[in-house]
């Protein structure tokens, strides 16, 4: 049996960046629509089962009701059975359960934060990340039909990793203990509370560590990207310190917001190399855009980039490979 | 002396106060360039600009609610509902908010607001654009209700309505809008003061709005038959000029109440009950009411004319008690 897992985060895409910038809004009913297209495309390619994460908006149920009502659902659509906490932990848990179940591809709908949570729950399941969040770096904007086809191809193929990139990730340690991970960026700000969670105020940002960066992405990784480009295939990361001195760069730190930022220091981080600093004041480390890790004065912080992240499906590549394998031929 | 249409009287009343006080504004559906559905505010946008003569979306609840909120915070808004029939859509804001706020809040909030309400049948507009709904509003403590019948009263009552610190419901009769009459005074007309349009000895007709003219026509015909009819135009429905009614009825001993509304539950019933309760000793005959047919307003002109109370109906009513 070939199955795919679908995690759609009902909470993505409503944070404060809609107020402080011009961020995209995708409501939950549209997420349901995207999921319908994923399911139908995967079913069309020959996937037998789609497993959904349960969530507070009941996206999986809405997809099932609608497609059954239209008489177009033929694959087995299931919902993981667990008690919802309505936090990011649901995503971690669902990803773990899906990997254990043996899904051939995990499709995640949300923003950078949702993908980060999913990655915490998987080891080697191919991941396809679809953007429904806040103008993200990690998930890609793509049509649900394409996503469904790509996920199906990954699930049906013997070695989908040929069509994936093995991503880097950032490990955050405080006083030697692993506290969390980030896929794209870990940003140190002098906030000391999570507040509205998202970060958007460049005045408060002191340091940025990225696994990859490019000016064509939105967020604080773009600050590093405006300074030096690091591709997902490069075997290093970048660490940037901000300050009132230093070279000024213009970076798209939020949707529609190009802000001048001064970079006082920037250096490459080899894979496995620790970027260390001692916190002088209380601060927060934002991971992929959300304030997550609280740091007290005197804490020893270390950030390390390694190529130990998820296997990310490259849709165009896998769909081309699917053609070579004759997956579109009518049997 | 100046000749003005009823619509011009309304417009002039609004304009006078808007010239004097930047806090007086007018808003409603299509009141701007379009000039209001009946042209009453035509040209005002040119004088006062689109901020103060403001087109609103078709949202009656928000229109009246905006009047409530802006009146509570320093403006003296005039809100227009295109037809008084649309009251149904914004009724909560009038009845539960505008009318009650001063009282509920122990007198701490004033709502100096005017709601303009074009009313009445005779335009072939059928059942949802022709009603006379004044009884709904006179029923509500906290609201004041006026209903002018000529240009001078339209102007003077508008001035007073704007000056009043309470929500004033300002009915405008649609078939009177184009009617010209003399305006001798540009002064405010106090609320609660009716006027005698024709003096008489044998019977008092108490009315307002368009029926003032029907009553005068009937009075003319009855005079030919030797009956002397006194016609009172109430102008204000609340507060009500009870003194004027008492004075007249104690002279004529007969009262006929004429309104365009359907009689059941109508304001005419309130007036006639008041006369029965307070002036019984002066009456030589029962108080009679004349209203519209007890139906929705029909469309076809022949039906609509039949629906509305006419001078002939008034004559018939008068003869019942003469």
């Amino acid at each position: 049996m070939t199955s795919i897992g679908i995690i759609a985060n009902p909470a993505s895409g409503k944070d404060i960046r809609r107020l402080v910038s011009y961020a995209t809004t995708i409501d939950n009913n549209e997420k349901v629509n995207i999921c319908k297209r994923i399911v139908l495309a995967a079913q069309g390619m020959g996937v037998d089962e789609a497993l959904f994460m349960p969530d507070t908006f009941m996206i999986g149920c809405a997809v099932q009701d609608s497609l059954e009502n239209d008489g177009v659902l033929s694959l087995a659509l299931g919902l993981l059975d667990f008690e919802i906490e309505a936090t990011m932990d649901d995503t971690v848990r669902a990803a773990r359960m899906m990997e254990r179940h043996g899904v051939g591809c995990l499709v995640v709908l949300g923003g950078d934060g949702t993908s980060r949570a999913a990655v915490k729950g998987i080891t080697d399941t191919p991941l396809l990340s679809v953007s429904t969040g806040t103008n993200n770096v990690y998930p890609a904007m793509m049509e649900g039909t394409v996503a469904g086809m790509a996920a199906a191809a990954a699930a049906l193929m013997d070695d989908p990793r040929e069509c994936c990139i093995h991503d880097k990730k950032i490990t955050v340690r405080v006083n030697g203990e692993v506290r969390d991970i980030a896929l794209i960026d870990a940003v140190v700000s002098d906030d000391f509370y999570a507040g509205a969670r998202a970060i958007w105020d460049p005045e408060r940002i002191k340091r940025i560590v990225v696994s990859r960066c490019h000016p064509a992405t939105i967020g604080f990784s773009a600050v590093a990207g405006a300074y030096e480009i690091v591709e997902d295939t490069d075997d290093y990361g970048l660490a940037v310190s901000l300050g009132s001195e230093g070279e000024g760069v213009l970076a798209p730190i939020a949707a529609g917001v190009l802000t001048p930022v001064r970079v006082s220091e920037a250096r490459r981080l080899a894979l496995g190399e620790e970027y260390r600093f001692t916190a002088e004041t209380r601060c927060m480390i934002a991971l992929d855009g959300e304030r997550e890790v609280r740091v007290q004065p005197g804490d020893e912080v270390s950030l390390t980039v390694n190529r130990d992240g998820p296997w990310r499906v490259v849709p165009r590549k896998i769909l081309a490979r699917a053609a070579e394998l004759g997956m579109y031929k009518i049997k | 002396m100046k000749m003005m249409t009823y619509a011009e009287g309304i417009r002039e009343g609004m304009s006078i106060r808007m010239r004097e006080d930047p806090n007086v504004i007018l808003f409603g559906e299509d009141v701007g360039k379009f000039g209001g559905c009946f042209g009453v505010s035509m040209g005002m946008i040119d004088e006062f600009g689109p901020e103060r003569v403001r087109d609103t979306p078709i949202s009656e609840g928000a229109i009246i609610g905006c009047a409530v909120g802006s009146a509570a915070t320093g403006l003296r808004p005039i809100a227009e509902l295109m037809f008084c029939d649309f009251l149904t859509v914004g009724m909560d804001q009038l009845v539960n908010q505008a009318a009650k706020m001063r009282y509920m809040f122990g007198g701490k909030i004033s709502l100096p607001m005017v709601v303009r309400l074009p009313a009445g049948a005779g335009t072939g507009a059928a059942a949802q654009h022709s009603q006379s709904l004044e009884a709904w509003l006179t029923h509500v403590p906290g609201l004041k209700v006026v209903y002018p019948s000529c240009a001078e009263d339209a102007l003077g009552l508008m001035l007073t309505a704007i000056d009043d610190d309470n929500p004033v419901m300002y009915f405008e009769n649609k078939v009177l809008l184009g009617m010209k009459s003399e305006v001798n005074s540009f002064d405010p007309i106090p609320l609660g003061k009716g006027k005698i349009c024709r003096e008489g000895e044998d019977l008092t007709v108490i009315t307002y709005g368009k029926q003032v003219y029907d009553a005068l026509e009937a009075a003319g015909k009855l005079a030919e038959e030797g009956v002397s009819v006194e016609v009172i135009d109430l102008r204000s429905l609340y507060p009500l000029d009870k003194a004027l009614i008492a004075e007249s009825v104690s002279k004529t001993h007969r009262a006929l109440v004429v309104t365009e509304e359907v009689k059941r539950g109508g304001y005419g019933g309130e007036i006639s009950a008041m006369i029965g309760e307070e002036l019984f000793d002066y009456l030589d005959a029962p108080v009679v009411r004349i209203g519209a047919l007890d139906t929705p307003v029909p469309f076809a002109p022949v039906l609509e004319q039949y629906y509305m109370p006419s001078a002939q109906d008034i004559i018939v009513g008068a003869k019942k008690i003469l």
Binding site: T25, G195 | E51, P57, K144
Partner: protein, 328 residues
């Protein structure tokens, strides 16, 4: 927009005042001291204090039937509130309004409101007024998830958007419209989504975290003051009690109630303040003691006030008509 430690403390004081006022109101209602209905703000204390922290005295708010919290947060006087709940002559409304109709024009409080969905339009009016009068005042409209199914909500968001009114629509999503849970009463989970239909930024924050609410509200207020138009700010929270006192809330699942009690804003915020050195535990205790005394004092004040004379029933129907309304 950075928040100062003083503001953080001030929010705590107001949250504590609300919690104690409401807990006391619940007790007094059960004892029969308060007539009528009371709808309590218990569980939602993080919202109004955080939003009002972003406001000036001359800014406006519109409130709801669940209004005590808004009024306290905007600076309402506890003595006058309690006296009003007791139906006394010297209460906020001279005993004519009660719990659901407290207003204080001098503090910009345009009234609690017994009609669900009525405040939205009134807030637009206040916003229009500020715009026409050329001030930079703003109006915050507080409302619940239930009211977003009223036509007035949609009319008002549309009007505020096209006129760029300085109105901040703050939805306190407590997940219930009376007894009907949000997933039963509307086909969306995030009221914030409705902003997009009116070209208004719609954002959702943790309504049990005053710092999250403050950050968002501060940006929304700044945006409104700058003439950039309205914001729809949804604060996710939970109504810890029933719809009104006396409602046993049998329709609320026990697990749901328990999960939200874990997220109770009061202990959570106090813990944050102490852990991060904003306040010491002693300072927190001192605030608690001081607020407890304020509430005690308000009860004593209210108890000592006379009932209104029946003569006063005819006053304030109109500004100028008094004796005429005595007729019955």
């Amino acid at each position: 927009m950075a928040i100062s430690k003083e503001q953080m403390k001030d929010m705590y004081v107001k949250m504590r005042r609300i919690r104690d006022f409401e807990s006391t109101a619940a007790k007094l209602f059960a004892e029969g001291k308060i007539p009528g209905f009371v709808h309590l703000y218990l569980g939602e204390e993080a919202i109004a204090p955080a939003v009002c922290e972003c406001l000036r005295d001359d800014d406006f708010i519109t409130s709801t039937h669940r209004g005590h919290g808004h009024i306290i947060a905007k600076g309402g006087d506890l003595n006058l509130m309690m006296a009003e709940l007791f139906g006394r002559e010297t209460g906020y409304c001279k005993g004519k309004g009660g719990s659901m109709h407290i207003a204080d024009r001098d503090k910009g409080i345009l009234g609690a409101n017994g009609i669900v969905g009525a405040g939205h339009c009134i807030a637009c009016g206040a916003g229009l007024s500020a715009k026409i009068r050329g001030t930079d005042q703003v109006c915050v409209c507080f409302f619940g998830d239930g009211s977003t199914n009223q036509g007035t909500f949609h009319e008002s968001l549309n009007m505020a958007s096209i006129w760029k009114l300085p109105v901040i629509f703050v939805c306190e999503n407590n997940h219930y419209g009376i007894s009907m849970s949000q997933d039963r009463h509307q086909a969306i989970k995030d009221v914030a989504d409705r902003g997009a239909a009116y070209n208004i930024p719609g954002i959702a924050v943790d309504g049990n975290d005053p710092l999250a609410v403050y950050e968002a509200a501060a940006e929304a207020v700044a945006r409104a003051r700058a003439g950039k138009g309205p914001t729809l700010l949804e604060c996710k929270t939970y109504r810890q009690h029933g719809h009104f006192e006396g409602d046993p809330a049998i329709y609320k699942p026990k697990e749901e109630q328990a999960a939200w009690m874990e997220k109770d804003p009061m202990p959570r915020y106090a813990k944050f303040l102490v852990e991060n050195g904003v306040m010491t535990q002693e300072e927190v205790d001192a605030v608690d003691a001081q607020v407890a005394q304020e509430i005690e004092d308000s009860i004593a004040f209210a108890d000592a006030q006379p009932f209104p004379s029946v003569e006063s029933a005819v006053v304030d129907v109109y500004s100028d008509i008094v004796e005429e309304v005595r007729d019955r």
